[in-house]
């Protein structure tokens, strides 16, 4: 059908252009050097890659446990109670809140009391944005675990909390990990909320209390700059980011299409 061709064509064009532009400007220096001042050639985004890793690690630390716990509640305890439905709905709503709004809220919650921009606040934003996705996929995966497995565990005299953690969650763990990867890929490219939380940094920084560079943020700064050299780096950065995300999404697809829970049922 014509519509599909019309849609797929520009999309494929984006990819090809990105790969072409990115690959031609990607080199070893990109991964090993920090940004250089305007006018000098060379330089890379080593600090931004490290910064993104730190921010995402921090985000996962916050988002994954809360998300999984929320999912456990929905699947194991709440089921179809009013509270569970309300939580489900809130999670979906939270998923739809624009990232920029999340950013200004965390700015006033964390950055203002702290008095300065920090990596910590950036991690908090990313963590909160991961919660809804992790929560809903965890719930879905847990619901796929047959009740017989739970009953078998309980019949052996295992306390309920151990049955949930060691039996149900463990059975569903490939699916849950998949959900976490999905959330991870989603927030990896977030730029808007980081502008006024992590703020960006041209130097190496691993201090959680200081502003920190992030890959998407650096791409944005370079993209709107007037310098060709910086544009080149922006393309290279985009390629790196997109490769990471494509890898994550493909992994997710691979795992889910193989039927995660086949062994369990």
């Amino acid at each position: 059908m014509l519509a599909t061709v019309l849609v797929v064509a520009p999309l494929v064009a984006i990819f090809i252009y990105l790969v072409y532009k990115g690959a031609s400007s990607l080199n070893l220096a990109f991964f090993t050097h920090n940004p250089v001042p305007v006018g000098e050639t060379g330089g890379g985004m080593a600090n931004a890659i490290a910064g993104s890793a730190i921010l995402l690690g921090l985000g996962s630390l916050i988002g994954v446990p809360i998300g999984i716990a929320g999912g456990i509640f929905l699947a194991e305890f709440g089921r179809s109670t009013k509270l569970a439905n309300a939580v489900r709905f809130t999670a979906d709503v939270l998923n739809g809140v624009p990232s920029i709004v999340m950013g200004i809220a965390i700015y006033s919650l964390v950055v203002v009391p702290q008095g300065h921009f920090s990596a910590f606040s950036g991690g908090v934003v990313l963590g909160i944005m991961m919660i809804p996705t992790v929560c809903r996929t965890t719930e879905e995966m847990l619901l796929m675990v047959p009740n017989a497995v739970r009953e078998a565990a309980l019949a052996l005299g295992v306390p309920n909390w151990r049955s949930v953690l060691a039996i149900t969650v463990k059975t569903a763990s490939p699916g849950i990990i998949t959900g976490c990867m999905l959330a991870f890929a989603r927030v990896a490219g977030e730029t808007a909320p980081l502008i006024f939380t992590a703020f960006g940094n041209v130097d190496w920084s691993s201090n959680l209390n200081q502003p920190i560079a992030a890959l998407p943020l650096q791409i944005y700064v370079y993209a709107i700059s007037p310098f060709d050299e910086w544009h080149r780096l922006a393309w290279a950065g985009s390629l790196v980011l997109i490769i990471l995300i494509v890898l994550a999404v493909s992994l997710v697809r691979f795992v889910t299409s193989r039927g995660v829970l086949k062994g369990a049922s």
């Binding site: 494929v12 709503v93 709004v101 006033s108 919660i131 809804p132 808007a192 993209a223 997109i242």
Partner: protein, 357 residues
Amino acid sequence: MSEIRIRQPQLLPESGPPAEPPSVGAHEVSAIRAFLLSRGNSALADRGFHWLMVLCALSIFGIVVLIACELMVRSRLAWGQFGLDFFYKAFIDTYTNKPMYWDPVNGHFSALPFLYGTLVSSFLALLLAVPLAIGVAVFLTEMCPGFLRAPLAFITELLAAIPSVIYGLWAVFVLVPLLREHINPWLISGLGWTGFFGDDNPTGLGFVAAGVILAIMILPIISSLTREVMTAVPNSQREAVLALGATRWEMIRMGVLRNARIGIVGAIILGLGRALGETMAVAMVIGNSPQIQRSLLANGSTMSAVIANEFAEASSDLHLSALMELGLALFIVTIIVNAIARMLVWAVTRGAPSSAH
């Protein structure tokens, strides 16, 4: 058409959304499990675990409430200063007698141009994206050869995962020059007489650029949700329409689209919600000037774009507060839009048979 709809109730029970085996994913705790749970001997640990999980689930509530409260508190200054005028009034500049909307230097703030920009760019995006998205969904569910289906679905999924800053980058270096060199002159010469395509902006940035990039970004969401809704339409519906001698197109129109329309509307509204809040790509191509012009090729700005651009270096408390108020407005609007959309999509995919007629 009416005969088909009368038959509907009889056809539905045989095939709905795939029925799950009773024990898998059943929403009620079974009697056996309830019995086993009741004689557990580790009541304290169990209770503790239960409440820990409840606490985490409640924290999701907490986050939403906290965000709302924080935005309200921080925007009180602007609210006190401008009240409701913030959303619909402009200030008349005493020197030039022209309306002024956003003037951080003199402390005049009005959300009007940003509301306008957000609405115009989002609706432009919907206008472009909806027909294409439905086309893609129809193609994928009804007429796509099997070997193409998986790769196409994968591409759509991938598109949804591309960060908006990369869309923005592509738009700045590929889309905007394309518009500037080829499409805009054509629009101006062809449709300039309507007044919607003025030729006073040679940069290629503006509402049209923002609308196009937004359309590309919301396409995957709308089409994948539409696809989901359309697969929930039972096959017997299609077969019934075909058996009456309908052509393939008539089958799609009457048998599928008609039954799935509520869900499709939901998908479109969800896409709208995404378009309203989209920030980076729009901020990079819309031109960022707080003005209201009839021409769609003129520069503009949106609520999210102005927050992204000015928040980190807001010049005064009032400025910050005005930006917070914009954020609050955006928050409320997207929550409402998303809530409506979710309900519509749920109505179709969950209780598919009952809501189809």
